[in-house]
Amino acid sequence: MMKRRILSILIGAALTGSLASPAFSQPAKPAAGGANISDGVVKIGILTDLSGLYSDLSGAGSVLAAKMAIEDFQAAEKGKTFAIELVSADHQNKGDVASNKAREWFERDHVDMIGDLVTTSTALAVMPIAKEKNRITIVSGAAATLITGKNCTDTNVHYVYDTYALANGTGKAVVKQGGDTWFFLTADYAFGQALEKDTTAVVIANGGKVLGSVRHPFPGTDFSSFLLKAQSSGAKVIGLANAGTDTTNAIKQAAEFGITPKQSLAGLLMFITDVHSLGLKVTQGMYLTEGFYWDFNNETRAWSKRFFEKHRRMPTMVQAGVYSSTMHYLKAVKAAGTDEAKAVMRKMKDTPINDFFAKNGRIREDGRHVHDFYLLQVKKPEESKYPWDYYHVRQVIPASDAVMPVAQSECPLLKK
């Protein structure tokens, strides 16, 4: 009997992922000034990967970014504001874990906004629940264009980046450099497939050809079989439509098998944490596209250094986006005088975003945050002068080129 009980607890824990879901809260400040705040408190939930392969690029850093935004907002308002509470949980990159947690947060804990949502499958799982419960989601971590495409909702913002921007930045740059035949190594889930599809369109539109692709299980460890296939395709460029340790392992193994530098690699989604992990020797010369780079101007440096003081790593675009979007959300709640989702969302969409993260950013009806992107190239080891000095900014991609045009979007909210 006992045996069976232990077994069921164990299996239950492993399946539902309730093993690690730390949550902490910001001490609530006395309510003042917020007339129509439900339950007297604005509650923000950061639902992210706290333990898996995306936990460096989002994870605890995203929770910290949200915490910083709340503190800065309260400091700017000199404490005369509504109470704000922060909770966080680990969704383990699983859609079902994410949707269970989101329901619990919305129904039992009265969370008003869920942020971060790294991994497309978790974002797509949580968005419809937020719509049903009339709460807000702000996706900073996930990438698929579906989020503001077919699956768009009127209570969601896609804040940082998407596969369209990545494809148009990196894809176009590589084709223009002469890399006109491609083979894709694709993570076999919504994000990887979207990235492959969007990049294929860009490659073809710019006169290139796609010779083939191979889809690998997510997450993977050994990529040598797939790399050999890519090698025998003879393509000039191997496009890595994956992320995190999948990308770093693939890059490392491509060097081991002598595939690079004969064929070149294009990391279609790489974060500064990946470059930091691999080192400049392996990654030098690679192009990548990001929505934020810490060392771009004085404003980005100032904020990033504050973040670095606390986290001991420079922020990724996701973490910077969590800060910026949480701040924008809190300002919108204040301006609207309520935390009711529709009213707050109206304010968020009506107010342009001007901070270290975005200049004249605006949120479109489909939820897409329209802002500039950066085409970056990884520096040579000898060009890097100080820690985390990793990129040349080769081009600022204007928002109009980086974001999918309304005419191409499948989001019903745009077809009015």
């Binding site: 994870g59 079989s225 770093t248 490392k252 098998f257 992990s277």
Partner: protein
């Protein structure tokens, strides 16, 4: 025939060889599990974490130990790591066995499983806290830079070494347990501990050493893996489930079974990556289901 399959023989040989390389990792890891289960009846869920510790010790030795002791020029090279990491992790395993696992032998398997699972989570959590998940890069030792040109593929020297080293270790382990006097004591100790003890054999000590050895095998595989995979706290968690499937297919506790199954499944997985890559993660579990339906004790296991 090759034309029918849409692949050239060269490409196929290359893929089979890669399958064999991955299979040799499976073999070393599942061998450690099989030794521990066969002789201690413990399902060692911490095996993946111990494999990760091996890789991390290699990386720490190469890049961090020097600065720690105030001599930045000091490195623990690859060969030293190959010996020291298994010893350290093995010793760590023996402490766990003496202080915790030893209390569970009279209870059901599940308690051992729960305990080792908990230990794995703690170890992985600590490493994640200290080093993050993006992973560390272990530089390939200079001797292994470059590759052999086999005509049909470009075989990195290091991968060739991985096959040789793991097969040697696997065979030696099998030989010691199945063919030597020490091995016969071990097997007798598990068959009937009381009777063996009555003959003057120190069974508890033997069990501790066996657990230490099984764990050391995991760490050895970890050092082998360090130069080719990103050294990350999650590297073991990603692999451990597959390795458990290998042990189950081979027959729980069967030494030879785990070696042959490990290599065989590496090959099958390699082929799946050629013909239907999307299924390459799941194919092992499909085989596991089929084997359990046909031979519940595993391919090489004996029904008790």
């Amino acid at each position: 025939m090759f034309e029918l399959l849409g692949i050239t023989p060269q490409a196929l040989y290359g893929q089979l060889l890669i399958g064999l390389i991955n299979g040799s990792f499976y073999a070393v890891l599942s061998l450690g599990l099989a030794v521990i289960f066969g002789l201690l009846n413990i399902i060692n869920f911490a095996h993946g974490a111990q494999y990760m510790m091996g890789a991390f010790i290699a990386w720490l030795g190469l890049t961090q130990v020097g600065p720690w002791i105030g001599d930045p020029e000091f490195h623990l090279n690859y060969w030293a790591a190959l010996v020291i990491a298994p010893l350290l992790v093995g010793a760590f395993g023996m402490i766990i066995e003496r202080t915790m696992l030893a209390r569970l032998y009279r209870l059901d398997h599940l308690y051992g499983l729960l305990l080792t699972f908990g230990i794995a989570l703690i170890i992985e959590g600590l490493f994640r806290y200290a080093y993050g998940v993006s992973g560390q890069q272990y530089e390939l030792p200079e001797v292994f830079q470059g590759a052999f040109d086999l005509g049909f593929m470009h075989l990195p020297k290091y991968r060739a070494w991985v096959i040789c080293a793991s097969l040697t270790v696997c065979f030696a382990t099998w030989y010691v347990i199945e063919r030597t006097k020490l091995g016969s004591y071990l097997r007798a100790g598990t068959e009937n501990p009381r009777l063996t003890q009555a003959f003057g054999v120190n069974v508890p000590l033997m069990i501790t050493l066996t657990y230490g050895f099984g764990v050391a095998l995991a760490a050895f595989a970890g050092v082998l893996a360090a130069p080719i995979f990103t050294v990350s706290p999650l590297m073991g968690a990603d692999l451990i489930i597959v390795v458990f499937a290998v042990v189950v297919i081979g027959g729980m506790g069967s030494i030879l079974g785990s070696i042959i199954t490990g290599l065989g499944l590496g090959l099958i997985q390699g082929l799946t990556k050629v013909f239907y890559p999307e299924a390459s993660a799941v194919v092992i579990f499909v085989i596991m289901v089929i084997v359990l339906l046909v031979r519940p004790a595993g391919l090489f296991g004996r029904e008790k």
